[in-house]
């Protein structure tokens, strides 16, 4: 009797979820954030519907504070695979001066990400948004469903989540309500990297270590991009570093690392003792902040 390896088992499960979403919803969309998880999710979607293209567009919420390399990579990937990309930006909020310095990261995120995402979903009439969140990523996600129910305001209420058994997902919704579908629910960070290696999935070069101009702020390394306003006494220095997770330039810190290839990264991760979101400034604003964001409709 043959066995699947853990990566094959995870892949089979994710492809099943992606196909369920495509079959059951009238207007699904894939949230594409350009990071490693999105890259894996997109790769799985290409596999799930091969030789056809994934039967849904990609949606990127561009806060305009993303790294230049991310946008270049995004455009390349969509062109190469012939995918339909919707880019949505909260232009009004930005014009009104929303930025992380003025508002703090909490509020900036809520306007430029959560607000923009909800607007984009309702503008597109999407009844399912497929996202790359993983349960292992953050403690408040440990109980998240594969099909996560959102009310007509895009809000998440722990009490209205449906029990989820076997691989029978309940996608029934009324008009205006929607489901967030998380095909990568059971993947860990290490699984993601091992899969990227096994499948040679292209990812943004920011994940690989090289000498970069950064500002050292507390224990965080912030890439000097987008005219990062410097605090008194700060000046950029060149440090060998890489990004462990990708977000907005000011809110995602780099880590000191010499891991310049995928196997290097896997080796580094095996020895790692710190969680990947640690360098996300946003998660530490407030205890349980991810959970608050989730209730509002972010993720």
């Amino acid at each position: 009797m043959q066995h699947l390896s853990h990566l094959q088992a995870l892949e089979a499960e994710s492809i099943h979820i992606l196909r369920e979403a495509a079959a059951e919803f009238s207007c699904p969309v894939m949230l594409y954030s350009i990071g490693k998880d999105s890259s894996v999710m997109l790769h799985l979607a290409r596999k799930a519907f091969y030789p056809a293209k994934p039967p849904f567009p990609l949606l990127h919420i561009d806060t305009t504070y993303k790294f230049g390399e991310m946008i270049t990579f995004r455009n390349q990937v969509c062109a190469q695979f012939g995918l339909r990309l919707i880019v949505h930006t909260a232009h009004q909020a930005i014009a009104e001066g929303a930025n992380p310095f003025r508002l703090g990261t909490q509020k900036c995120c809520s306007l430029l990400k959560t607000g923009a995402l909800l607007d984009a979903l309702s503008a597109g009439g999407f009844d399912a948004a497929i996202g790359g969140a993983r349960r292992e990523e953050e403690r408040s996600r440990a109980k998240e469903r594969v099909y996560s129910f959102r009310d007509a305001f895009g809000q998440w209420d722990p009490k209205r989540q449906r029990p989820e058994l076997w691989s029978l997902y309940n996608g029934r919704i009324d008009k205006g309500e929607s489901i967030r579908v998380f095909p990568l629910s059971n993947w860990t960070e290490l699984d993601i990297w091992e899969y990227i290696e096994a499948e040679t999935i292209p990812i943004v070069p920011l994940y690989f270590a090289k000498d970069r101009d950064v500002v050292v702020r507390g224990s965080t390394l912030i890439l000097a991009e987008h005219d990062l306003p410097l605090l008194p006494g700060e000046s950029p220095v060149r440090i060998m570093c890489r990004m462990r997770s990708l977000g907005c330039t000011y809110c995602t810190g780099a880590i000191r690392s010499t891991a310049a290839t995928v196997p290097d990264i896997i080796g580094e991760l095996r020895g790692f003792r710190r969680s990947e979101r640690e360098n996300r400034v946003i998660d530490h604003d407030q205890d349980g902040s991810m959970e608050l964001k989730k209730r509002d409709g972010y993720f």
Binding site: H3, S5, R19, A48
Partner: protein
């Protein structure tokens, strides 16, 4: 070699040390990051509380309880583990069912000082009902009983005594101290008498589920992939059981189309063989019309094809189960209407015995019979979880209200049910009476009332039938009898398939109606009665006028007899009752039959 995946679930009563145990496992397997540990340290009142590692949502942290299933991940070089961690108290049946549904193994925790508690028995019993083939009982807090072998052995003995009825389930025992780390990762020197491996060694080496690939091939079609341009069509899905190779013949259920597997197409190239639980796409050698919800199987090894089955039901909704109410059934990739026809028995959680009858409310477990509006293709849950499991959805609230496990779905049950008149199948309600007596009006009103209750109901109107099915027939006595026989034939087919059939036909001759009653069995005669004069005056279709003028020959009531039923189940005198009164009378009569 690539590591394998093992999914296991945990169960235990409050304070038996489950959070501590899981925290300890995650911690000792380096699955807890430094920054999370710092956060735990800052929360623990003093020292380091492992239980805090797995605590969940903020609201729960405040209430100091865990109310839902949480998923945890850790790995060793040999295996990747997914823990579905279920809280031991509130809602435990619902949560345990969820947690166990994808697990191959259960870790059952108990406190060495307390031994086998009623709650332990309940947990074990439920896990067994859920089809777990393997359990490991960890006897925790051995440090508090001086690591004494007798204590462990007494508990093991007690447990085995009660668990000997769990056929098909392997049970192992490990003495541990979650708090102090004994027998968690490494074998404890303080319990050198124990023959068992440490819990982690056990988890790393226990055989994983090997049977589903050896079962008959089951492939629920999930999605049809078309590729524009080259006329490409592939049936995508995840293999639910068994394996498949190109060149094999498959049959599609329920359409019955046969074809040969041309290729198993994947992004990584065509495969020479594929097995459960792979997600693949199958191309067939000919163009057949198959859509989502159908199942590809090998013709020599068919699943049970049935509308009627018996299942264990875990009720998960605040609203009670309603017998006879249509619910949505999601089974493999099919979604269809189903109703629970009877609650056969309900599990008494104190004695762990099934007691006949009763209703099902939140967290109840019962055995029920169900009837689907269309056939499903299934296997018994004990043989095949993927084709033996289902959920019920309330179509009004869209909530998942129950989880089900098919216990018997033999074709015999199916036949027995459709032949047994006592079991509620369909029903024929036969409206007879003169032209313009009010048959059509009443039957339509009753139709709407039943339809609104979610019943499967059909209307067979005499005039309609004569335009189609009996187009060739006239109004001679012989032709009239033939017409009634045809209507009775159709009504019988529908009734056998659980439909409520409303026949509205003059059907003037008693003998023909009696013949229909004999054939159909579940037959209710409604005499729609009004004096000829009243009918003639109503003359809805202008037929009396034509008959009086001699334009129609052999018209019932004028020049052909109407033989009134001597003892109809319901009689509506439409010249003296309002329509609403007549309808209410019929509905009242039907209530016990239609639920």
């Amino acid at each position: 070699m690539q590591p394998e995946l093992l999914r296991f679930t945990t169960a235990g009563s409050v304070d038996d040390g489950k959070s501590t145990l899981i925290g300890r496992l995650l911690h000792d397997c380096n699955a807890v990051y430094e920054d999370q540990l710092e956060s735990v340290r800052s929360q623990s009142a003093g020292g380091f509380d492992f239980a805090f590692i797995t605590d969940g949502l903020k609201a729960e942290r405040e209430q100091c309880i865990t109310i839902d299933v949480a998923y945890r991940y850790f790995s060793t070089p040999r295996r990747r583990f997914i823990i579905t961690d279920t809280p031991g108290h509130e809602q435990y049946t619902r949560n345990m069912a969820t947690g166990a549904s994808n697990a191959e193994l259960a870790v059952l925790l108990l406190d060495a000082r307390k031994g086998v508690l009623p709650q332990t028995r309940r947990h074990a019993y439920i896990l067994w009902l859920l089809g777990l083939k393997r359990m490991v009982v960890t006897v925790n807090k051995m440090d508090l009983v001086g690591f004494r072998q007798e204590v462990f052995e007494a508990i093991q003995h007690d447990f085995r005594l009660f668990a000997n009825k769990f056929d098909g389930c392997t049970i192992d025992f490990i003495p541990i101290s979650a708090l102090e780390g004994d027998n968690i990762v490494r074998r404890s020197s303080r319990m050198s008498w124990a023959e068992s491996p440490s819990l982690l060694e056990y988890l790393e080496t226990v055989p994983t589920d090997t049977c589903s690939g050896d079962l008959p091939f089951r492939f629920p079609v999930q999605y049809v992939i078309h590729s524009a341009g080259d006329n490409y069509r592939a049936y995508a899905g995840q293999i639910a059981a068994g394996s498949v190779r190109p060149g094999e013949e498959v049959i599609a259920l329920v359409s019955g189309c046969r074809a040969v597997v041309k290729s198993i197409a994947t992004f990584d190239g065509n495969l020479a063989t594929a097995f459960a639980p792979m997600s693949i796409a199958i191309c067939l050698d000919r163009n057949v019309d198959i859509s989502r919800g159908e199942m590809l199987v090998h013709p020599a090894d068919l699943p049970t094809i049935t509308r009627v089955f018996r299942a264990s039901l875990f009720w998960m909704s605040d609203t009670q189960l309603k017998v006879g109410q249509p619910y949505l059934l999601k089974h493999t990739t099919q979604q269809l209407w189903v109703e629970v026809t009877a609650v056969v028995s309900k599990l008494d959680l104190t004695t762990l015995e099934e007691r006949p009858g009763g209703g099902l409310s939140l967290n109840d477990i019962g055995t029920v019979t169900l009837e689907a509006y269309k056939p499903i293709f299934c296997d018994e849950y004990a043989r095949n979880r993927a084709t033996g499991s289902f959920i019920l959805i309330d179509s009004m609230t869209n909530l998942t209200i129950a989880a089900g496990m098919i216990r018997s779905a033999s074709d015999e049950l199916n036949r027995a049910v459709s032949q047994n008149d006592n079991v509620k199948s369909g029903l024929t309600i036969w409206f007879t009476g003169l032209s313009s007596a009010g048959k059509t009006t009443l039957s339509k009103a009753v139709y709407e009332r039943l339809w609104a209750r979610g019943k499967r109901v059909e209307l067979l109107d005499g005039d309609e039938v004569r335009r189609h099915l009996s187009k060739d027939l006239g109004f001679s006595r012989q032709d009239r009898d033939e017409n009634i026989l045809r209507i009775a034939f159709v009504a019988d087919l529908l009734t056998r398939n659980g439909v409520i059939v409303l026949v509205s036909a003059i059907s003037p001759y008693r003998a023909a109606r009696e013949e229909a009653r004999r054939r159909i069995g579940n037959f209710i005669e409604v005499f729609v009665n009004a004096p000829l004069a009243v009918c003639e005056q109503r003359d809805r279709k202008g037929l009396y006028k034509k008959a009086r003028a001699g334009e129609i020959k052999g018209f019932t009531g004028i020049d052909d007899p109407y033989e009134p039923p001597p003892s109809p189940e319901v009689q509506c005198d439409t010249d003296r009752e309002t329509e609403a009164e007549s309808v209410a009378k019929i509905i009242r009569y039907l209530d016990p039959f239609t639920g």
